[in-house]
């Protein structure tokens, strides 16, 4: 195992974590410029590291790198942007950047379904709710984050733990020992059937019970959403003294 390379990977993660920390909304002086510089540096360092390690392997071609950079960059923008509408739009960009990766992994049906469901349906709901609850100006809670250092540190530790586990796997057993052992994969398309029909066949035979349960779940969610939207709640004025403990729940008339 190449310890020097592992150290450089951790250093890159730390750089990215610092970038996210600086990009998160802060009160006081804006640290956005420093965050952007650090973020670009982290992405560039990752590219150089990956290019030195994975160059020539099929799983990591130019399309992968382009999509990965766009996905990570827009994901960081989602969690750091001060305006929720922009967060939602950057999330659309993340979904659209994930799609080519799924196509590279021979999951065409899932890729298209992801775009239609996420970018088409779920995000419209999000944007609708944001528009419904948009106050004038920028409220304080969008310009401030809660414990940004601890959150970024937690994310960094998670990332480092995953990478460390992957690097620690022995090469002959591990799927990704030392990050670079190419796993021999059997192409799904070897059987001469295209991917979508394989997914459909498995869905309708092997997983048909789960498929029906998912339908029931959607029905229940629809009933619940309609019930919630009809519910009347008493409007408390914001920032008033806190209500008496236990009072709020009892004041709400059941639907």
């Amino acid at each position: 195992m190449n310890t020097e390379w592992s150290f450089m990977v951790y250093a890159t993660f730390a750089l990215g974590a610092a970038a996210v920390y600086f990009l998160l909304p802060h009160t006081g002086r804006s640290t956005k410029t420093a965050g952007h510089v650090l973020g670009v540096a982290a992405l560039a360092a990752t590219m150089v590291l990956c290019a030195s390690k994975f160059l020539g392997t099929e799983g990591a071609n130019i399309f992968f790198y382009l999509s990965a950079v766009v996905a990570v960059g827009s994901a960081v923008k989602v969690i750091t942007h001060e305006k929720p509408v922009y967060s939602a739009l950057y999330f659309v960009l993340t979904v659209l950047a994930i799609t080519p990766l799924l196509i590279l992994q021979e999951a065409e049906f899932l890729a298209v379904a992801l775009v239609i469901i996420y970018a088409g349906a779920i995000l419209v709901t999000y944007v609708f709710v944001i528009m419904l609850s948009q106050q004038g100006g920028q409220p304080m809670h969008d310009r401030q984050s809660r414990e940004p250092f601890l959150a970024v540190f937690g994310g960094f530790v998670t990332m480092a733990a995953i990478a460390g586990q992957m690097a620690a796997l022995p090469e002959e057993k591990g799927i990704v020992g030392d990050f670079a052992v190419a796993a021999a994969t059997t192409a799904i398309n070897d059987r001469g059937v295209d991917n979508t029909s394989l997914v459909g066949t498995a869905m309708m035979t092997e997983y048909v019970v789960a498929f029906e349960v998912a339908g029931v779940l959607l029905l229940i969610a629809m009933v619940g959403a309609i019930a919630m939207s009809k519910k009347r709640v008493p409007a408390e004025t914001a920032l008033t003294p806190m209500p008496v403990p236990g009072k709020v729940g009892r004041e709400v008339e059941p639907f």
């Binding site: 989602v78 999330f91 799924l102 349906a121 709710v129 414990e147 940004p148 994969t185 914001a238 806190m242």
Partner: protein
Amino acid sequence: MNDIAPYIILSALLFAIGMVGFLSRRNLIVIFLSTEIMFQGVVLNLVAMGRMHGHVNGQIFALFLLSIAAVEAGLALGLVVLLYRRKGTLDAEHWSSMWG
């Protein structure tokens, strides 16, 4: 030959970014957007793992995950609208007080 390591690293990155957003943001809607980013990382991981083993179970799991995400988005946003109508703000800190 297909190298799966970059895909796992990328999905772990997306998951970690979503986690940081979930922990640190105060706007309820952005908190739920962060969970959607975590979903994206999981979907990518499932598909890459399924491809590595040469079957479609990962993709089917990801499809079910997609329906769960739709349910979650619908119900969670309904709750957010209710909370907003009650207090007139999306700040999660206003709902942090919990008495026994």
